[in-house]
């Protein structure tokens, strides 16, 4: 299983800090597509992180990985 984390407007939209899903074997792009359909999220300009490191769209998710969606940041 995988922990999927949301931040900023994504968190507000989904209404959860994280959800648990089996995403193993899927690419980030495939997971984005799935979540877009399930929650009506717009994820095409959103970065992903796998286990706290930025990940590209073609990275394949392993069982146990934590996936986070990172909207454009605005710290500082």
């Amino acid at each position: 299983m995988n922990k999927i984390m949301f931040f900023a407007h994504l968190r507000d939209h989904v209404g959860e800090e994280s959800v648990t899903k089996d995403a193993s074997g899927k690419t980030i792009a495939e997971l984005k597509q799935l979540l877009s359909e399930e929650y009506g999220l717009k994820l095409d300009t959103v970065m992903a992180a796998v286990n706290e490191e930025f990940a590209s769209d073609d990275e394949v998710i392993q069982d146990g990985d934590t996936v986070a969606f990172i909207p454009p940041v605005s710290g500082g």
Binding site: F7, P72, V73, S74, G75, G76
Partner: protein, 154 residues
């Protein structure tokens, strides 16, 4: 613990203390504060949210990049989260180096990198609404809202 995310107000002196070194002749700090007016619109307060574990890692990465680029540099960064009022301190960056030019340049580099790769977001609250703010880079076009390829997996 030179790189921290803090729910409590930041003690600036304690961040500075982390970079004091006998080899340094210069310490620069950058203190990001909550400004009342942005593009003429009045901010009431901000909420900062962080992906804390990853944010600390990315701050550490910025520190590492600085030490590679500026010889003898020491770096400490603390970023606040939660509700901040006008003039509250959101971030403190302290950099010490043997010579002053490096201390300014390395410090500037740190704040620009924070605005590129550190997973922290602010929500502005105005009298007539609220909104999560996208990237705040004032100088770099960043239309896709994602870090450059070189930033990935570093």
């Amino acid at each position: 613990m030179n790189f921290e995310i803090s729910k409590e107000p930041i003690d600036i002196q304690s961040v500075i203390d982390k970079v004091v070194q006998r080899e340094a002749g210069a310490i620069t700090t950058f203190i990001g504060t909550v400004r009342e007016l942005t593009h003429g619109k009045k901010t009431l307060y901000l909420i900062y949210e962080a992906y804390e574990a990853m944010a600390v890692k990315k701050l550490e990465q910025i520190g590492k990049e600085i030490k590679e680029r500026w010889d003898g540099a020491e770096v400490a960064i603390t970023h606040r989260t939660g509700k901040l009022d006008i003039t509250d301190v959101a971030v403190v960056i302290a950099v010490s180096t043997p010579h002053r030019a490096d201390a300014y340049e390395a410090n500037r580099y740190a704040i620009e990198r924070i605005k590129e790769i550190v997973p922290i977001w602010k929500k502005e609250h105005w009298e007539d609404g609220e909104e999560w703010i996208g990237n705040q880079l004032e100088t770099v076009a960043y239309p896709e809202g994602k870090p450059e390829a070189k930033d990935l997996n570093e």
